[in-house]
Symmetry: C2
Subunit: 177 residues, 2 copies
DNA sequence: CAATTTATGTCAACATAGCTGACGTATTCG
DNA sequence: CGAATACGTCAGCTATGTTGACATAAATTG
C-alpha cells in the first residue's frame, strides 16, 4: 500500500508557528505539570509492576493507610470513581492481605477499611520514592517558596462543594448508577 | 450469599493509626499533587467528551501545536508511549482534520506533524480552562512564589538522560519492540 | 412492625489507552 | 547492493475507567 498521495508536500491550511503566547496562556506550566506528574507516578509504578498491582491499587492503599477505618463511601468520594471500579482493586487488596474490612461499630452496614502491617509497608514503600523526589525538588527553596508550592497546589484543586453533601433530597444521586 | 464470616469484628493484625509523619515523608504534598492533577485534567476531559476524543488526543494535539513540524519519533519520546499507542489516536486526529503530515524536507522518511486551523483551535480550547485554573491558583503569589512553583515542578521532572540520545550503538533500542 | 432508604457487593458489557510481538514499506546511508 | 532507519499496521492482551441492573443486610421512618 502506497503512502504517497496521503502525505502533503505543500503547506496548505497548515500552521507552522508554535503555539506560544496566545491569549496569555501559560503553556510552560501546563507542560511542567504534565511532565512532573508523569515522572512523579513513575517511581511507584515501577514498584507496583513487581507486585502485580497497578496505580488503582496504589491510591486505595494510600488513602486507607492515611485514614484507617474510612468507609467505602468515603473512599469512593475521595477517588471520584465508581464503586464497580473500586470493587475490582479493593477485592484484590483484601484477598492479598493488604487491607481488611471491619463492620462499622455503630452502623453495621459500613465496611470500614484498615491496612494490615503488610498494607502499611506497601504504602510506605510507594510513598518513599515520591517523598524523595519531592524533597529533591524542594531542595533549593526556602520556607516561603515551599509555602508557595503548597498554596499553588491547593489552589489547583476544585473547591469541595459542601452543598452537594448536604442537599441530599435526591434519591439515588451522585455517581451512583 | 452471606457476607458474615468474611468480615472481621475484632482488631487482629490491623493498624488503626493514620500513616502520618513516618520517616519524615510528606504525605500532604503527595496528596496535593494527586488532587491537583486530577482536577487539572478534568476541564479538558469535559470538553473532549463532547468531541469524542480522549486524553491521549489532547496530548498529541497539544505538543503538535507547541512544536509544529515535529517528527513522530520526537513525539513518541515526549509522550513516552509506544508507536502503536500513538498510531491509534494520531490516525483519528489526521482523519478528522486536526493534524496533517508532511514528508520531511531532508529526510523523506519522516512524517512531520502540523496542526490545521481546526487543530490549533482545539488545542487552545483545551488549554484555556487549564490556564485559568493555573492563573487562579497563582493569584495570591508574588513573583518569587511563582518562580518557586516553576522551580519545584521542574525539579520533579526526570533529568533528560542526554547520553541515551547519543550512545546509540545499540541496534533497535529504546521502547521499540 | 412494615416500608423504605442506605451502604455495600456483584454480574455483565463496554470504552479508552496503554502494552508486546511481528511484519511491511519507503528511504537513507555505508 | 545491503543494512539501518522512520514509520505504519495487524492482532491480541491488560488495566482501569464507565453504565445498567440487581441482591442483601442494616438502619430509618411512618
Amino acid at each position: 500500500m502506497s503512502l504517497e498521495g496521503a502525505i502533503k508536500s505543500d503547506s496548505a491550511g497548515i500552521l507552522d508557528q508554535p503555539m506560544g503566547e496566545t491569549e496569555g496562556i501559560d503553556f510552560e506550566i501546563i507542560e511542567l505539570l504534565f511532565f512532573a506528574y508523569r515522572d512523579f507516578i513513575s517511581d511507584p509504578d515501577a514498584i507496583l509492576d513487581t507486585s502485580g498491582f497497578g496505580r488503582a491499587h496504589h491510591r486505595v492503599v494510600h488513602f486507607v493507610n492515611r485514614e484507617p477505618g474510612l468507609t467505602v463511601a468515603a473512599l469512593l468520594d475521595t477517588l471520584k470513581i465508581t464503586k464497580q471500579s473500586l470493587a475490582r482493586v479493593l477485592k484484590q487488596l483484601i484477598d492479598s492481605g493488604y487491607i481488611e474490612q471491619v463492620a462499622g461499630p455503630e452502623d453495621r452496614r459500613q465496611r470500614r477499611l484498615f491496612p494490615t502491617d503488610r498494607g502499611r509497608e506497601l504504602a510506605l514503600a510507594l510513598a518513599r520514592p515520591q517523598s524523595c523526589r519531592i524533597a529533591n525538588a524542594m531542595e533549593g527553596l526556602d520556607e516561603s517558596g515551599r509555602a508557595a508550592v503548597k498554596t499553588f497546589l491547593s489552589g489547583m484543586i476544585n473547591p469541595v462543594t459542601r452543598g452537594a453533601a448536604l442537599d441530599e433530597d435526591d434519591t439515588n444521586e451522585g455517581q451512583e448508577q
